[in-house]
Every structure is written in C-alpha cells, then in structure tokens.
Amino acid sequence: MEELSPESKKLLEEYLQKLRGVLKSLPEEERDEIVLEIKGHIQERVAQSSQAEADTEVLKNALFRLGKPEEYGFEFVTDYLLSKGIERKKAMMIFKGLLRWGCNTLVGFFYSLFFFASYLISASFVIVGIMKPIFPEKVGFFLRNGRFENFGLIMGVTDNPNMQEVLGYWIIPIALVIGIAWFFVTTWLLRKVIRSRFGFWKKYHEK
C-alpha cells in the first residue's frame, strides 16, 4: 500500500487518538486490538480507492462511514464493564457500566434506574440492621394502633403510647437477611438482564 500524505496521516492519527480516548477504561491489550482493527479497516478502505482520487478525500469518506469514535466506541466499553463486571463480581465495574448504559439508550436508562433503586433498597435494609444497636429507641418495626407505621428509623418522638415496637432486637437479623437476600435477587436479575441484553443468542438457544 502506498504511503499516506502527511495531511492524511495526521487526520488518521487524530481519529485513532480520539478512539483510544473513548476506550481508555479498557485494558491496554483489548484497546490496542480494537484500535489496530479499526486502523486496518481504514487503511484498507483507502487502499481500495482508485489512484485518481486525493487520498485525503478518500480517508475523510472512510472515517465518515465508520462514524464518530464516541458513537461506536462507547459500546465496546459498556459491554466490557457489564459482562466482565458480572463475571468477576466487581461492583465498581458494574456500577460504571450501568451509568454508561443509562446515559446511552432509553432502555438502558430505565434498567439502570431500576437497578440503582433496587440496590438502594437493599442497602437501606442493611443500614436499618446496623442502626438498631446505635439508636435502639428509634429503630424498629413500629405499629400505630395495631396497623403498620414504619419499618426502620423513626425521626420524631417514639414514646407515643399508640405506637408499638414489636420486633425488639430481632429486627437486626431480619433486616440483615432481607437486605442481603434483596441484594442477591437484584444481582441475579441484573445478571439475567445483562445476559439477555448483551447476548442476543440466548433467545434462540433456550427456546
């Protein structure tokens, strides 16, 4: 293949640099491989063109058809964070992946919202369990006149005669178990969603 003109070389290098930037949270090896593949694609497109065309024009056209690095590069990263995060049980990766997915598509936005909310609920149960020994009077399973009032922390006065706390210190194991079970159910659901969303084949596979 003939050499690119200096102007084209600069253009190509800028494009690949931008792609590298988009892919920066991937491990170096994976990032290099993607960049190399895209670079090969572009070079081949340029090499295919007839001699008559100016190579800068051909290059610009090839880059245009490929699209902006941000547009498709994002997908590599979201895929990586979610699938590897689930596989390696890395909460931070899943968190970042969900954030990206949520910013990227409407479906992703609703899924992310759902999972963040669900993890928040799970965390609040655990927090209730931890708070009980610290604020024994304020934390509990409260009934008012025999009807459900609150599970967890009560801010105001708790010596209202109509208000009854029914669980005592049993709330600690109960809240912890619910919180942890909630966490695992959420994670199980998340795994299912990620597998089906980032694994189209399952639909055909499992019938």
């Binding site: 293949m1 593949e37 694609h41 058809r65 490929l66 690095p69 694994g199 189209f200 084949w201 055909y204």
Partner: protein, 111 residues
C-alpha cells in the same frame, strides 16, 4: 415512517444471523463482512457498529478471532465460528426457514 421503523427493526433482528451465516463457510474479516452485507442483502449498518457487535459475539464465545498478515501489508483480524457458534447458527437457520415458510404460507393464503 412506520414502515422504515419496522424495516430497521427487522434488519437489526436478523443482522446477527446474517453475520453468523457468512462465517459458516469460511473465516472473514470485518470489512469483508461489511461489503458482503452491503452487496447482497441490503443489510446496511453503520460500519462502526459492526466492530462492537463482532466483539460481543466473541465475548459470548460465538466466534473466535485470529490475526493474519495480509498481502497488502496490514494485519487483518479474521473471525470464524466457534464450536458453540456453529451449533447455534444451524439452529437459527432451522428456525428461520420454518418461520419464513409459515409466514409465506400465511401471506399466500390471504391473497
């Protein structure tokens, strides 16, 4: 508007099948897959979206990849079906033929 939306969805849903079918006969690289898709099937996709898709297929173990030095001087990343991918594509094809036959019959009967 409605039609173009439906067409886009249909294309998207069959794209993976198209790609896997192409790899059934031999290993191919990204640009080659793109060119065949464009030429034969009107399955036009943004070129950039093919690469994340191939990456995902690889992550899922449907395809494997290898780098091969080409005559033109730059290395190409070739994709081929994994054992699991091969089994899957046969099942997909079987499903697809039954499905499209049924649909054609339905259309014919409605005439």
């Amino acid at each position: 508007m409605e039609l173009s939306k439906w067409i886009a969805q249909t294309r998207k849903g069959t794209l993976e099948l198209g790609i896997l079918v192409l790899l059934r006969t031999k290993k191919r690289y990204g640009l080659e897959i793109l060119e065949i898709l464009e030429r034969n099937s009107g399955m036009v996709i943004t070129e950039g979206t093919l690469y994340p898709l191939m990456n995902r297929l690889k992550r899922e173990g449907r395809v494997i990849s290898e780098w091969v030095e080409s005559v033109s001087g730059h290395p190409r990343k070739y994709y081929s079906l994994s054992k699991e991918g091969r089994r899957l594509v046969e099942q997909m094809i079987e499903y697809w033929s039954t499905f499209s036959n049924t649909l054609s019959r339905l259309i014919d009967e409605g005439r």
